[in-house]
């Protein structure tokens, strides 16, 4: 699992690539945990390069969101393809994790 992470102030922007399923969910989780440092307040997950997400992938997102929210932080997603957007709609995850069209909108939302 390839994941590019960069930093915008106290916000981490992570861009995972490819498929996110049971075979690499553990790797994805470790990569995210590695990218977030103590004191980071927010995470934007840029899903532009994600082609598929299974429930195992959603679980990592839920765990990450809970852990950030537990520390008073925030998380947002952006740039989801229509099929990925639909997974979030059907699972109801779009009601608990904000989804934005673009990275700038997501960044503005989590830092606002």
């Amino acid at each position: 699992m390839e994941i590019n992470a960069e930093r915008d102030g106290a916000t981490v922007v992570a861009r995972p690539t490819g498929r996110l399923d049971g075979s690499n969910a553990g790797e994805f989780q470790e990569a995210l945990e590695g990218a977030i440092e103590d004191g980071d307040r927010a995470l934007v997950l840029d899903f532009e390069q994600i082609s598929y997400i299974s429930s195992a992938g959603l679980r990592v997102i839920l765990l990450t969101a809970r852990s950030l929210q537990g520390n008073g932080g925030a998380m947002a997603l952006c740039s989801l393809d229509a099929p990925i957007r639909e997974v979030f709609a059907i699972s109801g995850f779009d009601t608990i994790i904000p989804i934005h069209g673009t990275r700038d909108e997501a960044l503005a939302a989590v830092s606002g």
């Binding site: 075979s23 598929y52 959603l58 990592v60 709609a89 059907i90």
Partner: protein
């Protein structure tokens, strides 16, 4: 191989009844029964006879009741599984029993066909569990663990489906090679109604398989305690929240079907909506009810919808292994891909054929591309 079952009940009539109703299985050497009248006697039997495979126990008994017995069983034999006999809809005791490690439950008055299915499933689980312990003693590789999880998953799927003069049910699953967490269940409810569930557990391996088992049992308990699908999902959601699930959750669609009226009522917890294929091959995708996956947010309500099935209608419940089947060009099948398949040339003739057709559509679409997720389909045909 004969399985030894300890039956614990203070009701003296149960012993002759059980021996009579199970006589064929006893004669064939499938089951052997041992009886005890209360928890104390049961513990004595377990201590004397270490080849007992499972316990089937009533709750209310003198001297030591079934719930206390449940707590004591692991100290005598930790690898034994217990099934509880409870009053219909007695969720309080069922919950306590599940918390104390009961594997499953059956309700009074006993339906012996249902009991046999439950007993067989429990015995199968006991065997898988013993196998798992053996593999743990050997070198446990990840693949080994996944094999065990996969067997546990198979062991909870129903193999017999209820049917009536005007309806049929069929379920099937094609497991992914090493990941996945789908399951389905069919539950007999009061007034000849049928409960249908299809679900996809997040995560993988043994923890996900155990989570799947408890989800299934909690669902069954909630289904017989609450009639309305929305209330059933809300109850399962709350019960799951009480446990620490390490971020695991389950997308679940639960529906009830009344054969006499044809009314199909359903609620979705983050699961794909049901598809109804009509007699002429046209189809209707039922609306989403907007619920979040079960086990994510505590204390929420789940909305439900209903749809009246006409004779010749087939409801298809499915998991994302169907809609997200991916071909070699990385294209997704989608529910539209399934809908397009049914038409004048391919009518849905009965529950089993329709289920197998969906599986075939997925297989043919996937072709040589790898199967990434379990592919599961549960169908209900009216008329």
């Amino acid at each position: 191989m004969t399985h030894k079952i300890l039956v614990v009940d203070d009701e003296p009539d149960l012993e002759p009844l059980m021996l009579q109703r199970m006589r064929r299985a006893i004669r064939q050497g499938v089951y052997e029964f041992v009886f005890a009248r209360n928890g104390i006697e049961a513990l004595q039997k377990l201590d004397e006879q270490d080849d007992i495979d499972m316990v089937l126990s009533d709750i209310n008994m003198p001297e030591m009741d079934g719930l206390t017995l449940l707590e004591q069983i692991p100290s005598v034999n930790p690898d034994i599984r217990a099934v509880i006999i409870s009053a219909y809809g007695d969720m309080q005791n069922i919950r306590t029993a599940m918390n104390r490690g009961a594997f499953d439950f059956v309700t009074k008055p006993l339906d012996f066909d249902d009991l046999r299915i439950t007993v067989d499933r429990t015995l199968q689980h006991v065997e898988e569990w013993r196998e798992a312990l053996k593999s743990r003693d050997r070198l446990v590789t990840l693949q080994n663990e996944l094999d065990v999880a996969s067997k546990m998953q198979q062991s909870i799927l129903p193999t017999a489906f209820p049917s009536g003069s005007n309806y049929r049910v069929f379920g099937t699953m094609e497991p992914a090679r090493n990941v996945g967490g789908d399951f389905y269940d069919v539950i007999r409810l009061q007034d000849d109604q049928i409960g249908l569930a299809i679900a996809d557990v997040s995560g993988k391996g043994v923890p996900a398989a155990l989570f799947m088992m408890s989800s299934r049992t909690l669902l069954k308990g909630a289904a017989i305690s609450f009639q309305e699908p929305g209330a059933v999902l809300a109850e399962v959601n709350n019960l799951i929240q009480e446990d620490d699930t390490a971020g695991m959750f389950v997308t679940m669609l639960y529906a009830t079907f009344s054969p006499s009226t044809g009314v199909f009522a359903y609620a979705s917890g983050g699961h794909d909506p049901p598809l109804v294929v009509h007699a002429d091959g046209s189809s209707t995708l039922l609306p989403l009810t907007g619920g979040i996956a079960v086990g994510v947010v505590p204390g929420i309500e789940y909305r439900q919808e209903s749809y009246t099935l006409a004779p010749g209608d087939t409801v298809i419940l499915y998991t994302d292994g169907v809609t997200e089947a991916t071909n070699i060009d990385d294209e997704l099948l989608g529910i539209e891909g399934v809908r397009e398949h049914f038409g004048p040339g391919h009518l849905s003739s009965d529950a089993e054929t329709t289920g197998m057709e969906v599986m075939r559509v997925v297989r043919e679409f996937t072709g040589d591309a790898p199967q990434h997720d379990d592919v599961t389909c549960l169908t209900l045909r009216q008329g």
